[in-house]
Point group: C2
Chain length 109, copies 2
């Protein structure tokens, strides 16, 4: 029987829509919530953060934060990267700019 890799954490596949599949109504719906908009602005200002840092900065339970970050990731607004057991979240600024020029500026100005 072939041996399995021991550390699955860093190999875990976290799904993201490809840039070409980003869809404006879907993204608008994801941004149509004050808390998610705050998360996006925070990531735009402060760069990548892990989920715990974002929860602390916004004073939210981490489960609430995870839920909203999942919606942002599934819409293609953010990218989540596994680093061991941590999840590092970043804004897909370049992808958004490529598909919908000016959108990130509207959100953050």
């Amino acid at each position: 029987m072939p041996s399995m890799p021991v550390n699955l954490g860093s190999r875990e596949k976290i799904p993201h829509p490809p840039t070409a599949a980003l869809d404006l109504p879907t993204i608008m719906r994801a941004l149509g919530d004050p808390l998610r908009l705050d998360l996006v602005r925070l990531l735009a200002r402060r760069g990548q953060r892990n989920c715990g840092e974002l929860s602390d900065l916004l004073g939210l339970p981490s489960s609430t934060c995870s839920y909203h970050l999942r919606l942002l990731r599934e819409a293609g607004v953010t990218r989540t990267r596994a680093e061991g057991t941590a999840r590092i979240i970043s804004l897909r600024r370049d992808d958004l700019e490529e598909r919908f020029p000016g959108l990130v500026d509207v959100l953050t100005s």
Copy 2:
């Protein structure tokens, strides 16, 4: 007893949020639907239209169109003006540009 005006049509008060009250998450939520985004793009390209024209252009039942136009109006994206029994819909382009510069360009480019 004071007499009431006979023609209420043109005096009917259709509520709209004032420009200063326009809220980005609310607007994003209103735009987070392919059909509403199509309505907005149509109004941006073709200027004001009545509900029947918009229904015809999008091939929608007028009840569906009315429903979505109400959501857009309540969010502050469009303005609805009564002209007799007709309802003339326009994009609040200047108000949106004042509060969220660049947003209309993102939607229509």
